[in-house]
Amino acid sequence: MSVGAVGAVGRVGWQSAGVHAAVRWNPLLLGSALLAWWSADHGLTLSGSAVSAWADRKHGYTLTQSSPAARPIFSATGFGGAACLVHDGIDDCVYSLAATGWAPTGNTGMEMWGVGQQDAPIVSDTALRCFAALGNSAFNTDMRQRRREQSGANRYQATVGAGGSAGTGSVSGTNFSSRHAMRLRVEPTRFQMSLDGSALNTINNAKDITATQFGIGSWPNGTAQFWLGRVRHVILTDLLTTDQAAQLTTFLMQERYL
């Protein structure tokens, strides 16, 4: 079953062609700066309640999961009343091994944004868990947004490959449990990260990414670091202006449905 606009009525994606119709800002209005946008309101292919494919809204870039046992579950209301994908933290993910051209490779700047819910308990779970990851599933040449246990706390961590090494950074002081809006901005010689619109935390690191695979809920190739929680939006963009970033932040903060 293909789901074209699940739960979209009255929220995302209702831009009207009418001249005077109200249009809520959404990532499509970033224009050419938007590279891809996977929204739980659109583009899902379901098998029963399980997600076998997820197409982005900009180009139709499609992530798939061919193994029924590893498919996330679609929930029409599981994100504070909004739609989301529910990942079990065992093997659930959607991914593509043919993501060449979806995002810049090498040292060209880009950004990865998202809204999700992190459910891994801090007491009994110390696994790394990727929300989204782009690259070739090699630590030194891909980039990851993920959950990491650090000193007994859940933290939002990013890793960015630099070719022969990789940089890592975290947003300290914010508990990464529950629902959050995530931003990872990667420039040629540094990357910055933010949670829920917080000030950007900067890490100096030379980007060198081999962007051939993309995964949501795991490594880019769908084999490890499985997300435990929910996914509502994942967005890839070029480097955004301050105004564009502010608009996207506002949008994603609302999409947390807190």
Binding site: S47, G48, S66, P68, A69, I73, D88, T223, A224
Partner: protein, 92 residues
């Protein structure tokens, strides 16, 4: 989808492959033609791991899965687990 795993010792690859083949064939025949229900791969500890063909997993038709007698026999060398650790889960 929340499901249990079956862990086979590394030396029991043949048993793991037999179980995987049975569940993949059965699921494809009864629920999704052409699908491959579960992968088979090594976990961090060296066990061969695939998904259990039974509750709490429900099929594409919202049917609770149930092993056939052949599957039960093929699973004799394995143990059920709620989770495992994959290579890479703790690295870096």
């Amino acid at each position: 989808m929340a499901n249990l795993l079956v862990l086979f010792p590394e030396s029991k690859l043949g048993s793991a492959q037999a179980y995987q083949a049975l569940v993949n064939a059965y699921y494809a025949e009864h629920f999704e033609p052409g699908s491959e229900f579960t992968y088979l791969r090594l976990d961090y500890y060296g066990n061969w791991v695939c998904a259990y063909y039974g509750p709490p997993f429900v099929s594409a038709l919202n049917t609770v899965l149930e092993e056939t007698p052949d599957m039960v026999l093929a699973r004799a060398d394995g143990v059920l687990a709620e989770r495992t650790v994959w290579p890479g889960d703790y690295d870096e």
